[in-house]
């Protein structure tokens, strides 16, 4: 177990009664051996954690000034923007923080897909990650409703109406969700309550996610297990400093948007107060929901559309059993690697289609892209049997320490000087 030692009397006194210091040391300190070859794509897990903390911190302060009432919510946000000290900053950090949180998490997920991080023995770690994604989506959706602008109101109407597709009980379920016969004040109240609750549920699942991670440690770009101590380095100081540098880069991008393009991800319509009598010309969700929105609208049957939309995420729960290839990293899977990038392009294309009205060419492209989205998982299943992976290196430290292809490639990038 932990090699943690301290000469500080206070620390020793606490450690004896509650070994929190050795616990932390094992979690993110010298006691947590980590593959030595993680690249910068591995920064996005800790970045997601930072984004979550930022969202909770700003959200708690915003809630002190926000009024969850249909007639007052919109004006209370404007009061935050105008009269609360640095309220504009808190609000812009929170509203853009959602976008950055999703951006970071999506990169984190694609990293996992590329390097096969979902494979045995990390299936449960992956499943917990999918649970976090679903919780994030629910939280983000309900948070978007709170400003009670036109887009808030109509997004809430469209999305809650999806549940009416449920056979037999659909309409009753929607009435139950709304707390009435349309999206109105009771809906806003419960969304506020749940928007405050769910982030703490996310924190709980994140703890489980990290717990599961620590069972076998991080996957790595080569995707083979560590063979011995020479393959690993202590998390601190190597990855604490590398993550800290990543935080800096993240904050620069985040600050650039907050201070110079704070409404970049927003819809102008959401600066118009909610009006149940006037429907906006185009109802679009936030960018991070656009691919799912495209899938929903690609299918002419409402129930099947809803099933496909939720299915597009739920399918990740069984991905570890769809992809049966024993090789994790796409570096050694020449065909899977190509299909991975086509899949990324398909997701981006779905997002683009989702931002446009489902007519003419967009409807056709949306349907093709949706079909391909699900076809990808069939391809992944077939590739497990058809693809011939490249030979794997015998250990992590072999290509790192003895030169060779990987080291030559990395030498061109000073950040990964090896």
């Amino acid at each position: 177990m932990s090699e943690f030692k301290s000469n500080n009397a206070v620390i020793k006194w606490i450690e004896y009664r509650m070994p929190i210091f050795s616990f932390l040391d094992d979690a993110i300190g010298r006691g947590y051996p980590t593959p030595r070859n993680l690249n910068y794509w591995w920064n996005f897990g800790s970045l997601a954690g930072v984004a979550l903390v930022i969202m909770i911190a700003t959200g708690i302060v915003l809630a002190m000034q926000y009024t969850p009432h249909a007639t007052m919510a919109f004006d209370s946000i404007e009061r935050i923007m105008r009269d609360v000290n640095y309220g504009w900053l808190l609000r812009y950090v929170h509203s853009n923080g959602g976008s950055f949180f999703f951006l970071v998490v999506y990169i984190h997920i694609f990293r996992g897909l590329y390097y096969g991080s979902y494979k045995e023995p990390r299936e449960l770690l992956w499943i917990l990650g999918v649970v976090i994604l679903l919780l994030m989506m629910a939280t983000a959706f309900m948070g978007y409703v709170l400003p009670w602008g036109q887009m808030s109101f109509w997004a809430a109407t469209v999305i809650t109406n999806l549940f009416s597709a449920i056979p037999v009980f659909g309409d009753q379920i929607v009435t139950w969700l709304w707390g009435g016969f349309s999206v109105a004040n009771p809906t806003l109240n419960r969304f506020f309550s749940l928007h405050y609750l769910l982030p703490f549920v996310i924190v709980g699942v994140v703890v489980l996610h990290i717990w599961a991670l620590h069972r076998f440690g991080s996957n790595n770009p080569i995707g083979i297990d560590a063979k011995g101590p020479q393959d690993k380095i202590p998390f601190h100081p190597y990855y604490t400093i590398k993550d800290a540098f990543g935080f800096g880069v993240f904050f620069i991008a985040f600050a650039a948007v907050i201070f110079y393009a704070p409404n970049l991800f927003g819809e102008p319509d959401n600066y118009v107060e909610a009006n149940p009598l006037a429907t906006p010309a185009h109802i679009v969700p936030e960018w991070y929901f656009l691919p799912y929105y495209a899938i929903l609208r690609a299918i002419p049957n409402k129930l099947l559309g809803v099933v496909a939309m939720f299915g597009s995420i739920l399918i990740y729960f069984v991905l570890p059993w769809i992809d049966r290839s024993p090789v994790r990293s796409a570096r050694f899977r020449p065909i899977y690697k190509q299909f991975f990038w086509i899949f990324v392009a398909d997701c981006v294309l779905l997002g683009y289609v989702g931002a446009n009205p489902p007519e003419g060419q967009f409807l056709l492209i949306g349907r093709l892209a949706t079909a391909y989205y699900f076809l990808h998982f069939v391809i992944v299943f077939l590739l497990s049997y058809l693809e011939r992976p490249r030979p794997l290196p015998s250990s992590i430290s072999e290509p790192v320490l003895k030169g060779g292809g990987a080291a030559a490639g990395a030498a061109a990038k000073p950040m990964e000087k090896v």
């Binding site: 590398k242 620069i252 392009a345």
Partner: protein
Amino acid sequence: MKKLLTVAAAVLAFGTGAAQAAEGTALPEYHWSFNGIFGTFERPELQRGFQVYREVCSACHGLRLVAFRDLAALGYSADAIKALAADYTFKDGPNDQGEMYEREGRPSDHFPSPFPNEKAAAFANGGSAPPDLSLMAKARKGGPDYVRALLMGFEEAPAESHIPEGLHYNIYFPGHQIAMPPPLSADAVEYSDGTPATVEQMATDVAAFLMWAAEPTLEQRKEMGIKVLIFLLVFTGVLYAAKRKIWSDLH
């Protein structure tokens, strides 16, 4: 893969063209003083814009999220704001006898809306209520560019278009049929600083004023942003150097 990209690019090009056709004419761009990283509002421009709002727009449009005290940011003195607020009458109460009474406006009051409610506003304006302008510069695509263009976009309707009674032709309004009659005409206001009051000048000034009204903290935001970014760039540089140093013993 390459083919896929070509298709995607073609779709993009076609898509934006179609979107533009639906949205109406492209907005003429204007170089606002508040654009860019170092952008700030110009006080004389805001004051002129406020004058246009007060003498022209406020007949039909409210500005309910802006308080008189906020005008200090435009360069008005406390006394001037007090005097300005006192020009307005507000219903207040109830007093100790339980009666409502009228009083002079105070700097803490917000701009009163010209109509008692939306129904009254719609009734007085042929069925469509003039929207409140507090957030107008953020509530439309194009922001202040759109506001400025719209105010200059009233033209003779083309022969083939049929503009219904009570609507007006505007090249920048989505659908081109706007209920608002052309609000500005040359010399509609007389600027105290002697600037000639052309339609373009007034449209520009009031659009800048409405941008301030929609985002009064814009200057504070941009000023803080520079400091934050400089700090972050230096700090991230230090972190990068530390990372290089710490990792050097591994290689």
